[in-house]
Structure formats: structure tokens, C-alpha cells
């Protein structure tokens, strides 16, 4: 069963890992609906 298809997706990206918008681009191709995308910063 698909993980993302038809789901509401919350993204917690990381400035020094993978940033939110980059993850969001991927999610769109898997049928997920991004309801919130944020990027955290520890530095």
C-alpha cells in the first residue's frame, strides 16, 4: 500500500539536511498533498 498517495503530508525539513521545499517537490510526484512545509535551523 502506498505511503503517501491520498495523504495529507507535513514536512519538517532541515537547513543542513534536506530543506522543506525540496521534499515538497518529491511528495507532489507521489500523490501526497503537502499541507505544511517548514525548514528547521540549528545554527
Amino acid at each position: 500500500m502506498a505511503i503517501l498517495d491520498g495523504k495529507k503530508v507535513i514536512i519538517i525539513g532541515d537547513r543542513d539536511g534536506v530543506p522543506g521545499p525540496a521534499i515538497a517537490e518529491c511528495v507532489k510526484t507521489a500523490g501526497g498533498e503537502v499541507v505544511f512545509s517548514s525548514t528547521e535551523c540549528f545554527v
Binding site: I3, L4, K7, V9, I23
Partner: protein, 108 residues
Amino acid sequence: MDLENQKRVKDFADEFGAENLVVLVGAAEGEAAGLAAETVTAGDPTFAGPLTGVELGLTVYHVCEPELKEEFDEAVYDEQVGMMEMVLDVDDIVSEMSSIREQFCKYL
């Protein structure tokens, strides 16, 4: 996890239902990924935010995990995340994330 982000996660769980949500993290290290995952499943382990003591049990993955990658368009993933795979310790991230999921996820 940032307190405002915790609040948003909690609000979305109320609005859409925890079973309809998936949380994706992009943390730089396994431990940080695990902490984020723990926050949205078992509650904020730092006892600081709105998710303290809230066991949402949300489905949570790191964007670099193989079962998630399968669902993405390969070209888009490669363009957006591909290079980070060479930088991150994906094995460590996968083991942290699966351990949290096995313990705390309610909707797998």
C-alpha cells in the same frame, strides 16, 4: 522540534485525523531524525512543546528512506535530494527511523 512546528502538527492532527497524516523529515543526522520522529509519535522528548505527552502515533519517514523513495518520481528525487544521499549517513537514519516507527506508529 521547533515549538511552532509542534503546534502546527497537533492542529493538523485535530483537523484531518492522525490516520490521514504523514510526516516527512529531512534531518541531517540519524539522531535528530529520530527525535523529530519521536516527537510526532510518542510526544516531545524534550518536554518543551505542545506535543509533550501527546502520543499522536503519526506515520513518519525520513525523505531518504528506500520505501519512500520508491514512490517518488526518480528524476525529481534525483534532482532535489540525490546529492544529499552522498552526504547523509542513510543507514543510520533508516535504523533510527524504523526503530521509532516500530515502537510508536499507530497507523502503519
